[in-house]
Symmetry: C2
Subunit: 469 residues, 2 copies
């Protein structure tokens, strides 16, 4: 990619060598400067080229994080936080070099309070590990961005995913954070109460800041009771508009659908081919309901009636876990099914989010754009939120292809903005969407910049991301 | 009150006279400096003594707000936003004098999108006016702090109230804001999509900032479909613990209760006396369910079973609107019923919020404290959130009484903090709780202060609130 937005800031070589020496002395084997480690930590699910850090330190405590921040701040050396490396917009790239702080080994669940439906975890805990840990408590953590991301990374990128329509995004599910700020202090952003109006909402300032304002060292999360019953179903619609109207009606009636996912015709074709399924190749909704036996039965009946109103003639539904997994197989394998359409091509995963009344329009216009370009680019969406993803398959060795994909994503973002939507529902800005943020919220960027400069005056935290300083 | 926290900063007399002259010229009758107007705009529901602004300007547009901010910024004169004057912790006091910007006449609903369940309003729209406006659309705005507050004020204080257990607080229901910042620019904090990960979450930074970072000029809100059915009920419990355990179990099972309010024995006594009711004087829960006919029937059956498990023998429930109003009369009149216990005394309304597992302990210890002091101080709580209010009746002419009430609220706050709760669930910090915020989040105050100084370098927006500069 041309990477118009990536800033290769000046590297601070003198400071760096001091920091590398000090970290080697303090952390021994837990500080790595070999190329393999550095490459691995600039490698993410992103389509953007890797920018390697100068060293990777595997931290084990908040105290260690404080020491590293003090050291790097003193030498004005960049610090990039690293969770599971599943971000999509170059968030973990070391744009000006510096030290990658890897939280993999800070992976303890520090506390679970079943009565309060909350817990506190270290940032390296992955969402799957957390849910395995919680299983015996009857609770679960609902945010599911697909990848087995770390909780720290999910907080930093304001992740959401399939369950957000029912349970909200990370901003709604983080109760409090501890964060190491640029002066090396560790601050607590909130107590554990479920609501508070005590002071500025620093919790939500750090959630989604992509590591540019501080390093998160613990996260207090809201949890949910594991539903007594989960029901899931699949229904195809005559048109995209019908499928979207079924979604809007469901949301308007307040049916608490837990997931409602839209797969377009090309995505269904890819899934059928990949998973040897025989779904009709039409716009299809995958739905899931959580609740008591009676509640789930009720919601699914209500939804089936809505789906029928919009032309779904074959709502296939089950409350059996295995059958549900089978029914939902197409959705679960959507990413790999798409990649399998052309295994030799690279994939660019992007997302936008629009008011749900515009979802059908935005998807239809995007499909027309894809057809006009002749792209292989299936669409899958978290339809209840108006959020959808396009995975564009393209030859990243071809300059012409790269230019066409860049122009396509630019049009996609502009289309979403024109519909009062956002250039990213859940992937974040990172390096890849900086110019779209300018188009979206340009007048607000000076305020964001002022906040950044106030909290990180030497620009040590993840420089070169979100907006230009 | 001794008002330990109130800062009477130095007044900027020279700047003020320039500003007063300019505003008189520009706004004519819409700028008032008479004592009656100034007194009215420092008068709130607060127990704190009034600090009058030097003038009150009734604005009609964002452009006017920009002009006023530019003028005041140039002369470094304080600006205090004013909605309905229902805040409780001295938020609208003019601690260092200055200009009160009254939003009463900026009261237009700018846009409603029924399909997207959202709307945009000017800050002076009250929540009751908004709901009247919305009635024909089949939608409603759920946040209900009791008072008929303005939406701008509710956003500024991060208000919540009885419905928060189901619908969240203002932070969850504001999608975007326009805000006039210290340089007089008007910025938009977000687009209208239901979720976004585009840049810093400025929306939630301004929500709850109590007017100290800028003046909100429009608010985009999430709306809800008016439920097909509303069911309400009342049940008394043998003990506070039983009532709280019924709440915890309800929340844990994921029953989407719309309101679940706890009234203690003294509150029930006050309500019986005031509204000529005959409820047993025991800890009592008032509950409400929203949904389809079937869903509400289901939720209420499930709740009744839980209540019975914890000793409620007489769950009185109805789906008839008039009967429900009658049943809930005690809750609706709680404030005035409490005041009527001793009409000659002043009332101090305070709130704390704790993890729900500690709600019974916190209320019980507070009741014991009230009994030891011999106070008349009924308790009413938004139990599903762990949030409760104490209305302490006291003689504000007696120094001894004032000192005892101050010591009591200090103990209440310390008790909530010791239980990992917050010194305020929904009233905010204002002037009254500045020292409690220090106790609660002291280490984070430097970060809050840095944000304040970055966005409002001359401290013109509502100075002397939340924390010391």
């Amino acid at each position: 990619m041309a990477l118009k937005d990536v800033i290769d800031g000046p590297r601070n070589e003198i400071g760096l060598s001091e920091v590398v020496q000090a970290l080697s002395a303090q952390f021994g084997e837990r500080f790595q400067t070999g190329k393999a480690h550095r490459e691995q930590h600039a490698h993410s699910t992103s389509y953007l080229p890797a920018q390697l850090p100068d060293g990777v330190v595997f931290v084990e405590s908040g105290k260690e994080v404080q020491a590293i921040v003090r050291l790097c701040a003193h030498h004005k050396v960049p610090i990039i936080g690293f969770g599971a490396g599943t971000s999509l917009e170059g968030q973990v790239n070391a744009a000006s070099g510096g030290i990658c702080v890897d939280f993999t080994w800070m992976n303890k669940v520090l506390r679970v309070s079943p009565e309060d439906l909350d817990c506190t975890v270290e940032p390296g805990v992955t969402r799957e590990a957390l849910n395995v840990y919680l299983r015996d408590t009857g609770l679960f953590f609902p945010i599911d961005p697909g990848a087995n991301a770390s909780i720290g990374g999910m907080a930093s990128t304001r992740a959401s995913g399939t369950n957000a329509v029912r349970y909200g995004t990370m901003k709604d599910n983080v109760l409090a954070l501890t964060v190491v700020t640029a002066n090396g202090e560790e601050i607590t952003t909130a107590q554990r109460a479920r609501k508070s109006s005590a002071g500025y909402d620093l919790t939500r300032l750090f959630v989604g800041a992509e590591g540019t304002l501080g390093l998160i060292t613990s996260i207090t999360l809201r949890l949910q009771g594991i539903p007594e019953k989960i029901g899931g179903g699949v229904c195809g619609f005559p048109s995209l508009e019908d499928a979207c109207n079924a979604v809007i009606t469901t949301i308007q009636l307040g049916i608490p659908v837990a997931r409602i996912e839209l797969l377009d015709q090309m995505q269904m074709r890819a899934c059928n081919a990949y998973s040897k399924l025989t779904y009709p190749e039409q716009p299809t909704l995958f739905v899931e309901f959580h609740g008591t036996d009676e509640a789930v039965a009720l919601y699914s009946r209500q939804f089936a009636a809505i789906a029928a109103d919009f032309g779904c003639t074959d709502f296939r539904y089950t409350e059996d876990a295995e059958e549900r997994a089978q029914l939902w197989k197409a959705r679960h394998n959507a990413y790999w099914a798409s990649r399998a359409l052309a295994p030799h091509l690279a994939g660019l995963s992007t997302d936008v989010c629009v008011p749900i009344s515009r979802l059908a329009d935005c998807v239809a216009e995007t499909q027309a754009d894809i057809a006009a370009e002749g792209f292989l680019a299936p669409i899958v969406g978290h339809a209840g939120d108006g959020n959808f993803h396009v995975l564009v398959l393209f030859d990243d060795k071809s300059e012409e292809d790269v230019a066409r994909v860049e122009a396509f994503t630019e049009r996609l973002s502009a289309r979403a903005l024109a519909m009062q939507g956002t250039c990213t529902g859940e992937h974040g800005i990172g390096q890849g969407k900086m110019r779209y943020l300018e188009a979206e919220l340009g007048a607000a960027i000076p305020a964001m910049r002022a906040v950044k400069q106030a909290l990180d005056p030497d620009n040590i935290f993840n420089p070169g991301k979100i907006f230009r300083l």
